[in-house]
Every structure is written in structure tokens, then in C-alpha cells.
């Protein structure tokens, strides 16, 4: 790698990079929640390029058609947080660098299928496992993901008793007593 880009990397490492994007699905449920269509996720330990590669790697591991990059960015955010520890930073930056080095310096420039094959071949490495195990929590544990996948999260706190716990209409209603009784309802 030429020394100019090396020093650029060092520069970004100390100042941190950022992930920026625009929501792809203007009328999707997430867009309805978001204050604006463009989003940005500042990074502290990783460079913008490293963040972009890690976002793309996560998308290959957990492909959800129609899931906004803004949700995948939560994974990068948590990897960035982990990368504040030296060992994790070395692991993540090393993983990104190895992907780039193997792809004439720019893994992101490869065709998606080629990217996928190279990521898949890393299964079992600690880099792969770090991204996978972070993503399995971060990707599915945020309000945007809840909206996307149709989980109501904290809304349940007040209870679904009068709000959809048995609103399924595509099957016949089971009979009582098997189906139980609402509070206050007296079994006849």
C-alpha cells in the first residue's frame, strides 16, 4: 500500500470517519420514522472507508432485501465502539485491509457476488466472527429494525389485551373453554 494512503488512514483513525447515506425506500416504514431522508453515523475509531467495508460485509452476512443501510449502520457503530480497544481495532482494521489487499486495494469495487464469496471464505476467522457476533445483536436490537421486521418492542409494555393480542382473523376463533376468558368475563 502506498505511503500516502497509509498516512491518510492514520489521520482518519485519530479523527474518526463517518458513514453517510440516504434512505432508499422513501415510503417505507423507516422513512416514516426518520426526520429526514439522509442520515449520518459518525465514527470514532474507524475510518469512513473501514466503516463502509464493514457495512458491506454485514450486508453480505445478513442480507435483508429492503432493509435500509441506516439499520446496518448500527452494526458499524457498535464495531466502531469495540474498536476503541486496541485488540479489536487491530482485528477489524486488519480484516478490512486483508480484503482490500486481496482485491487490488479496493474490495468495495468488486462485483457483489465476488465480494460475497470472499467474505464467505473467511468463516471461522476471528474477523468474520467479530462482525457476525456483533451484527446478530446490533442489527436486530434497535427501533428501526423493530419497525422493519414488524416487532413492536416496548409498545408491548402497556399490554396487548385490548390492542391486538388475538386479532388474527385468518383462522376460526377457538371455542371456550379452550380459548379461555377475558378478565371479568364469567365462564357460563
Amino acid at each position: 500500500m502506498p505511503s500516502t494512503s497509509l498516512s491518510r488512514r492514520t489521520f482518519l483513525k485519530t479523527t474518526g470517519g463517518a458513514l453517510v447515506g440516504t434512505l432508499a425506500f422513501a415510503s417505507g416504514p423507516i422513512a416514516l420514522l426518520a426526520p429526514s431522508r439522509s442520515w449520518a453515523m459518525p465514527l470514532d475509531a474507524l475510518s469512513s472507508h473501514e466503516g463502509e467495508v464493514l457495512l458491506q460485509v454485514t450486508k453480505h452476512l445478513f442480507p435483508h432485501p429492503g432493509l435500509e443501510d441506516a439499520v446496518y449502520a448500527f452494526v458499524v457503530k457498535d464495531l466502531d465502539r469495540a474498536a476503541e480497544a486496541e485488540a479489536n481495532r487491530t482485528l477489524l482494521q486488519g480484516g478490512v485491509k486483508a480484503l482490500d489487499d486481496d482485491a487490488s486495494g479496493d474490495w468495495l469495487a468488486l462485483a457483489p457476488n465476488d465480494q460475497y464469496l470472499r467474505v464467505a471464505s473467511l468463516e471461522g476467522t476471528s474477523f468474520f466472527e467479530k462482525v457476525r457476533s456483533t451484527a446478530i445483536v446490533s442489527l436486530y436490537n434497535n427501533p428501526l429494525a423493530f419497525t422493519h421486521f414488524g416487532y413492536q418492542g416496548e409498545e408491548g409494555d402497556k399490554g396487548y389485551l385490548y390492542n391486538g393480542f388475538s386479532d388474527l382473523t385468518w383462522l376460526p376463533e377457538p371455542p371456550q373453554p379452550a380459548n379461555g376468558y377475558m378478565p371479568g368475563e364469567v365462564p357460563s
Binding site: L61, F62, P63, H64, P65, R132, I136, V137, L139, Y140, N141, A145, F146, F149, G150, Y151, Q152, G153, E154, G156, D157, K158, G159, Y160, L161, G164, F165, S166, D167, L168, W170, L171, P172, E173, P174, P177, A178, N179, G180, Y181, M182, P183, G184, E185, V186, P187
Partner: protein
């Protein structure tokens, strides 16, 4: 105001108190039952007090708040050793123990299951035994426990209303000729015993904020405190139990909230730390008189650990289900719970609805997974129904809790290692259960059907089992240890066999019966 603010306090050198270790299903119930008799009790609980107001409607945050996260290790061929090597069990470390997390399913063990060895015959590679208690002996205590816990469909308490996940299970069950209803649940379907009725929140595994679900946290423990005969000491982690030259236990050494070592004297000690910590504590209490640990002359302490044969089936449909709305365990099928060896295994299993929120679904659906099969399932999350399979697993001497002396906890004590190999009977049963569970959903028109491997064990049993003869187990039919008359086992570790049913109702019934027995022994001057 904390529940402990105005409680009676006992001196550390007061040797007339009964010390109970753990405040969950076993310990919390025993404490109340003793206190109601006027017996002075000190409960030492490793976890802190988290009240209903503290509970979180957020799976991971709640897990960090309540779960037992002190280190444990695993070995053996069971899949958990690979998936969650340091989390073999899902247990709570908090006042109220795992009754804070539990789903509330409250089923009686069937009469024949108390006679597992006689009914099933010898099973190669298993250490089956009959319980020293019969169903008929326990029946009156089951009745009292059901009333105490407010179990639906007993004591004229109506069944809970069925949620969407139940509706799917019910339809499939009927298609296969099974019976199915909303179960026997220790969850109020109506206001009862000063507690609200269930609001169908769907966060039963995260602590019930309404108090509709029975937990010792807000039933047995405050009731015991109110008698003036019980002191609850949270954040008190017992490290070992002490004894005198005659071999009777005299008290315990524990670490308080500040990490300072304390010693509480006792007339008797009852251990109810759940089936990993109970044997660990006995083993960690080894002395020159008892070099293999307390109550271990049989060598059975820690052995015959059981965790039920489990697995889950999730299925997706064209139409939405939203299974996470409402009680987590909302329906039960018991038609496979009987013993019928023609199915290729002894014992039986239950099918119970289960649901996980999106975060836990991702973590537990297929641990270690990635790629489009996995994401394809999660893409259908709101169109998914689920059930948990839970059946009798075989006690094996080699499935055991031992001390891992290479790893110490915060107080320098060796941690528990959990070794488990599935018995061929467990594997055959799980396969049968997966097939029947899948057939249920297929009959309702499922698009995809998924077999999910066992979660970290929620039912932990048998590691200090009851036995008629001292050489076969650790305690007698009242949970009194064979070796030491004033040392009792008061939790699920006592189970001689796992039986099919979710264990808590039986743990509570045994605790009520044990309390009566202890009261008698005290009157007779034996303890």
C-alpha cells in the same frame, strides 16, 4: 421504600435461625412456609432487589439486569457447549430467582412418572430411579401450591384468553386430533390475591410488571417478611457451608454487597440455589471431615443433572401472526406426555407455545447462523408462530456439575462446570417432537418450518437427587440430606427424574411439604 426496610433483623451469631440460600421458587416458598409457622429464617440471596417497576420491556437490557452472568463452563457433546459455552443455563440472579423470568406453566408430574424405573424398566446408559415420594403423597401439596400460585383451570380460575400464537397452535392441534387449551398457568386471568390480571404484554421472560404472574418476589417473600420471622438479605453470596466436629452444619460464610466476608450461624441450612449452584456450594464446602463435599458420601452430588429434552419449532405463514403479543406460553398440548415406548423412547413431552422478541429470535433461532436461510426466516418474523418442546430427559451419572478449579468467581471460589451428553432416548424423543410439532404447523398451511436447537437451559434439575437409599442419591423424600440431618436441599436439584412437566409447581409443592416436615423435626428436637 425497599421491601426489606422494616423487616426483622437477626444477629450473625444467632444460631437458632434457619438459613435458606436462594429466594427463588424453592427458597422463597420454603421461607414463607417456615415463617408462617413462627420459625425464624434468614434468606441469603446472591442477587439484588429488582422490583416490578424496575423491569424492562427490552430483551437484552433485561437479560443484563436479571440473569446470572457469573462465569460457568461446559463440556460434553450437547449443542449448548458449542453455541453458548459460558451460558449453559438461563437462570436469574435477583431476589425472586428464576420465578422472575419464568413463563408460568404449572403442570403436575404424572403419577407414573414418580416411578420412572419401575414403569420404564432399566434403560441402558441411564440412572433411572423411583422417587421416594408418590404422587398421592404429593397431591395435597399440589392442591395447596395451585391455590397459592393461582394456577388457571384449577380452583375455579378461568383459563387465560388465547393469543394469536395460541390460535395457530390450537387449529393445528385439532387437525392432528390433539387436545389444546390455554394451559395451567400461574398467571392471573382475573384479579386475585391482591394481584392484577394479565395485560398480555408478552414480556413474561423479562419480569411481569403487572404482577399477574406469580413470583416469590412479590408474593412469598413479602408475606414472609410481614410475619416478622424472616429477614431477607439481598446481594449475599454464600461461598461455603460450615459444620462442627459431629458433622452437623452450623452456619454459612457469605460475601455481602460490599464484598465483605460474613458468617451467619444457623440451626439448619436449606440450599435452594438452583441445580447448578446447589451442588457447587456443597462441593465447595469440602472439609477434612467431608473431603468430597457436604452430603456426598454417595458420590452423587452434582450427578444426574437433567435439563429436559427441548427444542423449538417455528413456522411461517402467508398471513400475519404477531406471536410476541401476549403471554409467552399461551397454549399447551399434553397428548404426547404419556409413556408409550412404541414411539421409540420412554417418557413423554409437552408442546407449549413460545415466542421470542426480535432480538432474542436473532440470537437463539440458530446460534452461529448467518446467510440467506437465516435472514429469510427473520424476514417473516411477524408471520411466524412458535412452540417449545419439553420432555423427560434421562438422568445419567456422567451428566454432572463439577468444580472447575481453573476458573474462580469474584470471591475466589471455583465455578461450576456443566457436563452433558444427550442420551439416545433424548435424541429419539426430540426427533419425534420436532416431527409432531412440524406436522401441527404444516396442517395449518405453514410456508417454512424451522427446527430451533435448545436454548440455554431454563429447567435445571436433579443434581442432588432424592432417593430411598442413601447410596443412590443425596437427600430423602423430604429433601433432608442423607448424611447431615440439619442440611436440606430445597430446589429443583432434588428431582429424582425430570418427568415431562415444567418443574416449578413441583418445586413449590415439595417446598411446602418440606416446611411442614422441618416444623415437625424442630418440635421433636431433631433439628
Amino acid at each position: 421504600m425497599a421491601m426489606t426496610d422494616n423487616q426483622t433483623r437477626f444477629q450473625h451469631d444467632d444460631d437458632h435461625v434457619a438459613v435458606i440460600i436462594g429466594s427463588g421458587a424453592g427458597g422463597g416458598t420454603l421461607a414463607n412456609e417456615l415463617a408462617q409457622q413462627g420459625i425464624d429464617v434468614v434468606v441469603l440471596e446472591a442477587g439484588a432487589i429488582h422490583t416490578r417497576d424496575d423491569f424492562l420491556a427490552d430483551e437484552w437490557a433485561s437479560f443484563s439486569q436479571l440473569a446470572w452472568l457469573d462465569p460457568r463452563t461446559t463440556s460434553g457433546s450437547f449443542r449448548l457447549a458449542k453455541d453458548f459455552p459460558n451460558l449453559p443455563a438461563w437462570i436469574v440472579k435477583s431476589v425472586g430467582g428464576t420465578t422472575v423470568h419464568w413463563a408460568g406453566a404449572s403442570l403436575r408430574i404424572q403419577p407414573h412418572e414418580f416411578r420412572a424405573l419401575s414403569e420404564y424398566g432399566k434403560v441402558e446408559g441411564a440412572n433411572l430411579l423411583d422417587w421416594p415420594v408418590t404422587y398421592d403423597e404429593l397431591a395435597p401439596y399440589y392442591t395447596r401450591a395451585e391455590d397459592r400460585m393461582g394456577v388457571t383451570r384449577t380452583n375455579d380460575i378461568p383459563g387465560l384468553p388465547g393469543n394469536n400464537n395460541f390460535h395457530v397452535m390450537y387449529t393445528g392441534a385439532k387437525n392432528l386430533g390433539y387436545e389444546c387449551n390455554t394451559g395451567h398457568m400461574a398467571i392471573n386471568s382475573q384479579i386475585r390475591d391482591g394481584r392484577a390480571s394479565c395485560q398480555q404484554r408478552g414480556f413474561c421472560f423479562q419480569g411481569c410488571r403487572t404482577g399477574a404472574k406469580w413470583s416469590t418476589l412479590y408474593t412469598e417473600l413479602p408475606a414472609a417478611i410481614a410475619t416478622g420471622h424472616m429477614e431477607l438479605r439481598p446481594q449475599s453470596h454464600v461461598a461455603h457451608i460450615e459444620h462442627d466436629a459431629q458433622g452437623k452444619v452450623t452456619g454459612v460464610v457469605y460475601f455481602d454487597a460490599n464484598g465483605d466476608q460474613q458468617r451467619q450461624k444457623a440451626r439448619l441450612v436449606a440450599v435452594a440455589g438452583n441445580s447448578l449452584e446447589t451442588p457447587r456450594l456443597l462441593l465447595n464446602s469440602a472439609s477434612s471431615l467431608f473431603p468430597d463435599g457436604l452430603a456426598n458420601s454417595s458420590g452423587q452430588v452434582g450427578r444426574n443433572y437433567m435439563r429436559h429434552t427441548t427444542g423449538s419449532v417455528y413456522a411461517t405463514f402467508d398471513e400475519p401472526v404477531h406471536m410476541y403479543r401476549g403471554t409467552t406460553m399461551a397454549g399447551i398440548i399434553s397428548d404426547e406426555a404419556h409413556h408409550d415406548p412404541s414411539r421409540g423412547f420412554v417418557g413423554g413431552y409437552e408442546m407449549e407455545t413460545v415466542s421470542l422478541g426480535l432480538p432474542f429470535m436473532a440470537a437463539f433461532f440458530d446460534p452461529g447462523a448467518w446467510g440467506s436461510d437465516f435472514t429469510g426466516a427473520l424476514d417473516q418474523y411477524d408471520h411466524m408462530a412458535g412452540m417449545w418442546l419439553v420432555g423427560e430427559d434421562m438422568p445419567r451419572e456422567s451428566n454432572r456439575i463439577t468444580l472447575n478449579t481453573d476458573l474462580k468467581d469474584a470471591f475466589g471460589m471455583p465455578v461450576a462446570n456443566v457436563h452433558y451428553d444427550d442420551h439416545p432416548n433424548d435424541i429419539a424423543m426430540r426427533e419425534h417432537a420436532y416431527r409432531q410439532g412440524s406436522a401441527i404447523y404444516e396442517s395449518v398451511g405453514a410456508k417454512n418450518i424451522y427446527r430451533t436447537p435448545p436454548y440455554p437451559s431454563t429447567h435445571n434439575l436433579g443434581s442432588c437427587r432424592m432417593s430411598q437409599r442413601a447410596q443412590d442419591g443425596v437427600c430423602n423424600g423430604f429433601g433432608q440430606s442423607h448424611d447431615i440431618p440439619n442440611l436440606f436441599i430445597s430446589d429443583g436439584s432434588q428431582f429424582t427424574t425430570s418427568a415431562t412437566e415444567n418443574p416449578t409447581l413441583t418445586i413449590v409443592s415439595l417446598a411446602i411439604r418440606q416446611a411442614e416436615h422441618i416444623g415437625q423435626l424442630m418440635k421433636e428436637g431433631i433439628v
